[in-house]
Amino acid sequence: MSEAWARLKKHRAAVISAWVIIILTLIAILAPVIAPHPYDEQFLDQVLASPNARFWLGTDSLGRDMLSRLIYGARVSMAVAFFTAILSLLIGTVYGAASGWFGGWIDGAMMRFVDILDSIPSLVLLILVKVVFDSFSLISEPEWKSMTSMLLALSLVSWVTLARTVRGQVLQVKQMAFVEGARAAGSSSLRMVGIHILPNIMGPVIVLLTFQIPANILAESFMSFLGLGLQPPFASWGVLANDGWRTLRSFPHLMISPGVAIFTAMLAFNLLGDGLRDALDPQMRGRM
């Protein structure tokens, strides 16, 4: 592990990206402290102002400070991405580990289901899952309803790759001598998977997770951009881009600044993922 750490520290782009991610996370957490204005405060004499000394990134069509909205947007976008990545990690690990451990026809059936999910384009699946959650009206406030259905939809869509990887790793580790030994010593199935197998497959899982977060940021912003995602007052970067798109010709900065924010986050996570993959699994170097 320390060897991997040393390799990662030599990867300059990955180190810089890690710092960018830390800064973005701090911005997201400290949004109320950093933001120059509340994200929903309207300056009615300053509607659609261009970037200036008072409003560094200008104001939107309702006279709200764009910089503050971007800072709060970091909060929503990153929180959604982190939370869904963790949830999909849990689902994917349990599903993949079970499939790989039991093997046989259970494995066949479970993987067949994963194949089917994979044959539906992810945005379509996301829309379907959202339709289902939306029609169970468990939550009455529309903004929290759209938030929970987005969180659940994203986590239910993105566990598939993780499940495949975990299954593959479990199948590999299952053959190894120390697992045979533990089995001979009388360990139960659950204990074997939990104690002996899972720690051994953490490397690839961490790498996948690092790539999953930017994918979730993008998926959330796509859905919000299409008007199927979050509702005000949750202003994620995708919601901001959707707002800005309507005034593109005259006020392009309103669409470009959330785009740049997403680009920065995606780039940082992808570069860190590359670095982690090279560090944790030297054989995979240079692959996708």
Binding site: D115, S119, P121, L123, L226, L228, I256, F263, L267, G286
Partner: protein, 358 residues
């Protein structure tokens, strides 16, 4: 005889290229031409399959694809039927007898199994039911009307992705470790991280409002095609460039290339005949995931450039709770993806010398 055979083997690709060119220049493509191209591909695949003994494998893959589609159709049907709240529960409650007669029109009173059987029969006969929202229009008609634009956009983007991605990937691999390699790979990772709603407005501002070369919206001719195609193709192009570079580097280091060089083959011959052919296999097998990402990306692109394609209908059908349209569109997009995966697998089995009768 051999020359004739070679021309025959190239025929599907030539036809395909002609189709793309004709449609790109804004002419209407005669459906007979498309069917001819498809037929020539099937004939070629069949011939190669017989020659390599892959007939059974191909038929099995075809069967698997059909089963997958059937399962998707059934799952979506079940999903939408178990939802609480019917599609006609609107804010303004309908009088009960009106609601009953509407539900009777769409046969929502039939037992679930009969509805399911009718639905499957409908798919086979090309009748996907009447839309709830656009009364009097069959979902199949809405699809046939909107899908050509979407398919056109998708095929152009994938072609652009390969035409940009492969040469740049090979170039970067050939100059491994130099500043060219570093520059190209920086561009590639930026392309992967670039959301389309950042690049699209920038391009629209420069090329439509600034230079006036292209049109910013609709789908009516070459001037309308260029920008959406490029914006949609950038992410896949970037992944292809990265994968091509990695794959070429791996093949260059392998033993049989060393052998080829050692026996004195020319450098360029080794590169084009051995390295490229072998390193293209992983790149081509990326086509399935690429189609998936292009399908997803096309939703945003169709929205930004106001292209009257299928994605728009799916988005609207969701807010309208138009269940037949949601079902039809889900089936359409899944079918496109399943077909793309099938074609990829079949092409790989034809190109890859290691795939033989198993």
């Amino acid at each position: 005889m051999n020359g004739l055979l070679k021309v025959l083997r190239l025929a599907p690709w030539i036809l395909f290229g002609a189709c793309v060119l004709i449609s790109f220049c804004g002419f209407n493509l005669n459906p007979i031409f498309i069917w001819l191209t498809l037929l020539s591909f099937v004939v070629e695949l069949g011939l190669v399959a017989v020659k390599k003994g892959l007939v059974f494998y191909m038929l099995r893959r075809l069967g698997e694809a059909l089963v997958t589609l059937w399962l998707i159709a059934s799952l979506t049907f079940l999903l939408l039927r178990i939802l609480p709240g019917g599609p006609f529960d609107e804010e303004k409650a309908l009088p009960p007898d009106v609601k009953a007669s509407i539900e009777a029109k769409y046969k929502l009173h039939d037992p679930l199994l009969k509805q399911y059987a009718d639905y499957l029969k409908g798919i086979v006969t090309g009748d996907l039911g009447e839309s709830y929202k656009y009364t009097g229009r069959n979902v199949a008609d809405i699809i046939t009307e909107s899908v050509p634009d979407s398919v056109q956009l998708g095929i152009y983007s994938i072609l652009v992705a390969y035409l940009i991605g492969i040469p740049f990937g090979v170039w970067a691999a050939a100059r491994q470790g130099t500043w060219i390699d570093a520059l190209l790979m920086t561009l590639a990772i930026s392309g992967v991280a670039m959301p389309s709603f950042l690049i699209a407005p920038i391009f629209i501002l420069i090329f439509c409002f600034g230079l006036g070369w292209f049109e910013p919206a609709l789908w009516l001719g070459p001037a309308y095609y260029v920008l959406p195609t490029i914006v949609l193709g950038i992410r896949p192009a970037a992944s292809i460039a990265r994968l091509t570079r990695a794959s070429v580097l791996e093949v260059i280091r392998s033993d049989f290339i060393r052998t080829a060089k050692a026996k004195g083959l020319e450098e360029s011959k080794v590169l084009f005949k051995h390295v490229l052919r072998n390193s293209m296999i992983p790149v081509l097998s990326l086509t399935g995931p690429l189609v998936a990402s292009v399908l997803t990306g096309s939703f945003v692109i169709e929205q930004i450039f106001a292209i009257p394609g299928s994605a728009k209908h799916l988005i609207q059908s969701v807010s309208n709770r138009d269940y037949p349209l949601i079902l039809g569109m889900t089936l359409l997009f899944s079918a496109l993806l399943v077909i793309a995966n099938l074609i990829t697998d079949l092409l790989i089995s034809v190109i890859d010398p290691r795939v033989k009768m198993s």
